[in-house]
Homo-oligomer: 316 residues x 2
DNA sequence: CAGAGATACGTTAGTGCTTACGTAAGTGCT
DNA sequence: AGCACTTACGTAAGCACTAACGTATCTCTG
C-alpha cells in the first residue's frame, strides 16, 4: 500500500479508509442478519438508549458531530420510526429526541448482533483492535492538549528560521552517525555485519583510510549524514547517506551529497561510485541529478547484500 | 467522550472523526502558510511525484480509492493547473496523468512544510503517532487475512446456536471468577483489598459463609458470573456480578441476577442488598428492573471505596 | 479475424457529512 | 421593560466520496 510510505503525511487518508471499511462491514452484517439499522445510526441510537431522551445538541456533543448532522440523521430515524421529536416544554428552542417503542424493541434484539460484532472484530484483528482503540484514545487526548496545527506552525517557523548547514565530522557526533544510518537500515533492510562495524567506529573505518564524513545540522538537531570512503587510492565510495525521516524535504540530502562530491574533487579522486537499492527511489533520483549514472549490473564483489543498484559518478 | 464507551462498536465513527481532524489540520496549515494545495490532493500528487506519470487506475489502486474519485480529483487538479491529462499512445483507453511544471515547482517548495507536518505531528502526538500508524498497518493486514464480516457472522452463528446457560460454582471455574471480576474492576475502578481476597478464594469467603456463586456459560466460554454473599443470617449481598465485555447484550447478566434472586428465596433470606457505582448505568438499570430499589444514601459501613449506590431488593 | 468479454475511465446520482444562514426562543444588562 | 446577546435547531448549499452506468478500446479465443 503506497499510503503507508507517506507515514504521518497521509494519516487522514488512511484513517478514512479504515473508517469506511468498518462502516461498510457493519452495514453488511446488519443487512445479512436482517437488522433494520444502519451503522451510522448507532451512536445516536445507543446514546438515547443509554442516557434516555436528549436534545439534539446534547447528542451532537456526545457523539462528536455537528447539530446539523444529528438533525438530518434524526429525519431518517423519524422516517424509520425509531425516534420521535418532542418540543421541550421547559425550553421552547430545544427538540428532545425520544426512542419509540419500536426502537426499544429493535435495540433489545440487537444485543446478540453487537456481541457478535465485538467478538468478530476481536477475532479478526486480534490484539490490534485494542491497540488501535488505545492509540485513538491517546491521540484524541493529545490533540486536545497540544493542538497539532500550532505544533506544525511552530515547527515550520523553526525550520524557516535557521538554514540547513553541513558540518564535518567531530567525535561528539559519532552516535548521530549510528542513529541516522540505523534508522533507514532497520526500516528498509537490516543492519548487515559490515554496517554495524563501520557505524560503531567510523573514525577507524572511514576517516583513517582517507575518507570523510559530513553531517547536516538544523538548529540544534543533527538531521542527516553522509560518508565518503576511500576504497583504494583515488577510488571513493559514497556511502551511509541517511536523513532523519521527519526532516526530509529540506534539501539536506542534496547538500550532503554536494559536500561529499566536493570533497572527492578536493582529494583529487578519479572514481566515485555508490551502491544502493532500487526501493530507495527518491535517493536514486537525487544521485542521478547529482551526476551519478546507473550501471547495467551490480558492482562485482559488493560488500552489501541489499545492493541491487550500482552507480558511478560522471563529472560534467 | 461517549463514543469511547462503545468500544469496538463505534470504531468507524471514531476513525472518521480523527481522519477529519487531520484533514482539517493539514488544510489549515497549507492555507496559513500560503501553499496552493489541499490535503485531499496529497496522495495523488505525491504518487505522481514519486512514481512519475501514471494512469488513473494505477493511481486509484495505489492510494486505495476508486477510479471515479481519482478522475474527479483530476478535474480539480487540472483546473488548478497541477496536472495534465494525456492519452496513452500505447493504449487508447488509458489516461495518463502528468504533473505540470507548476506542480513540480509547488511540490518542491512544499518540502519544508511536509517536514514541519511530520515534526508537528510527532511533537503533538508524541509516541502515540507511531503507535497509531502501527495499529493501522496491523489492522489493514489483519482485515485482508481474516475479513471481519465473515468473522462476525461466524460469531453470530455460534452465539445463536447455543443458548446462555447458568451453572453453579465448581472448583475448576474458580479462575473464571477472578478473571471476570478483575475485568470490570480494573476497567472502571481498581481492585480493592477486599476484592482481591474474595476473588482469590471464593470458596472460603463466599460459599462457606452460606453464599452461592453462579456462572453464565455460552458453549465452551464462561462469559459471566455473579455471587450471593450471606452477610449475617438471612441478610444477603448481591456482589461480584461481571459479564465479559465482548459478550454483553446476550442477557447473561439478567439470567445471573435471576438465578441469585431465586437462590436468595430458596434460602429464605429476608434482606437482599447490593452496593454499586453510578457509572455502571446499564447494570443499575438491570437491578432496578429486577426489583432492587435505590436507597437515598449509601450503605453505612460499606466495605467498598467505590460504592456510591446502595440498593435493596423489594419483592413484588 | 470476428466477436465475446475484459478493461479504462468519464459521468451521473446519491450519501453523509460540513459550513453558512435564518428563525425562534431564552438570557442578561441597564 | 427593552434591547442586544446567545443558544437551539432546522434548512440549504457544497464537498468528497461511492456505486452504477455508458462508451471506447483492448485482448483473447475459436
Amino acid at each position: 500500500m503506497y499510503l503507508a510510505s507517506l507515514g504521518k503525511l497521509a494519516l487522514g487518508s488512511r484513517l478514512k479508509a479504515l473508517s469506511d471499511h468498518f462502516y461498510g462491514a457493519a452495514d453488511e452484517v446488519y443487512q445479512t442478519l436482517g437488522a433494520t439499522i444502519e451503522s451510522r445510526w448507532l451512536p445516536v441510537l445507543r446514546y438515547l438508549w443509554d442516557v434516555g431522551p436528549s436534545s439534539v445538541t446534547e447528542v451532537a456533543d456526545a457523539i462528536g458531530q455537528t447539530h446539523s448532522a444529528v438533525s438530518q440523521l434524526t429525519d431518517k430515524l423519524v422516517h424509520a420510526g425509531m425516534v420521535r421529536r418532542q418540543r421541550d416544554p421547559a425550553d421552547g428552542r430545544r427538540t428532545v429526541l425520544v426512542l419509540t417503542e419500536k426502537a426499544h424493541a429493535s435495540l433489545a434484539e440487537l444485543g446478540p448482533i453487537w456481541c457478535a460484532v465485538r467478538r468478530g472484530v476481536t477475532f479478526s484483528l486480534e490484539e490490534h483492535a485494542a491497540q488501535l482503540l488505545d492509540a485513538i484514545e491517546a491521540c484524541e487526548r493529545a490533540l486536545q492538549e497540544r493542538p497539532v496545527v500550532q505544533a506544525i506552525l511552530a515547527e515550520h517557523a523553526a525550520i524557516e528560521a535557521s538554514p540547513v548547514e553541513v558540518v564535518p565530522y567531530a567525535p561528539e557526533l559519532r552516535e548521530h552517525f549510528h542513529r541516522l544510518n540505523a534508522q533507514w537500515l532497520e526500516r528498509y533492510f537490516r543492519i548487515e555485519e559490515i554496517d554495524g562495524v563501520v557505524m560503531s567506529d567510523p573514525e577507524r573505518y572511514i576517516l583513517q583510510p582517507g575518507g570523510a564524513i559530513f553531517f547536516a545540522r538544523l538548529g540544534e538537531d543533527i538531521i542527516g549524514t553522509c560518508a565518503l570512503l576511500q576504497e583504494s587510492p583515488g577510488v571513493f565510495e559514497l556511502t551511509k547517506m541517511g536523513v532523519d525521516e521527519t526532516f526530509r524535504g529540506l534539501g539536506a540530502g542534496k547538500r550532503l551529497l554536494d559536500a561529499c562530491i566536493a570533497e572527492f574533487h578536493r582529494r583529487e579522486g578519479h572514481t566515485l561510485f555508490l551502491e544502493s537499492n532500487s526501493v530507495l527511489r527518491p535517493a536514486l533520483r537525487m544521485y542521478e541529478k547529482a551526476g551519478f549514472v546507473l550501471q547495467p549490473s551490480i558492482r562485482p564483489g559488493s560488500h552489501y547484500e541489499r545492493a541491487d543498484v550500482y552507480m558511478v559518478y560522471q563529472d560534467r
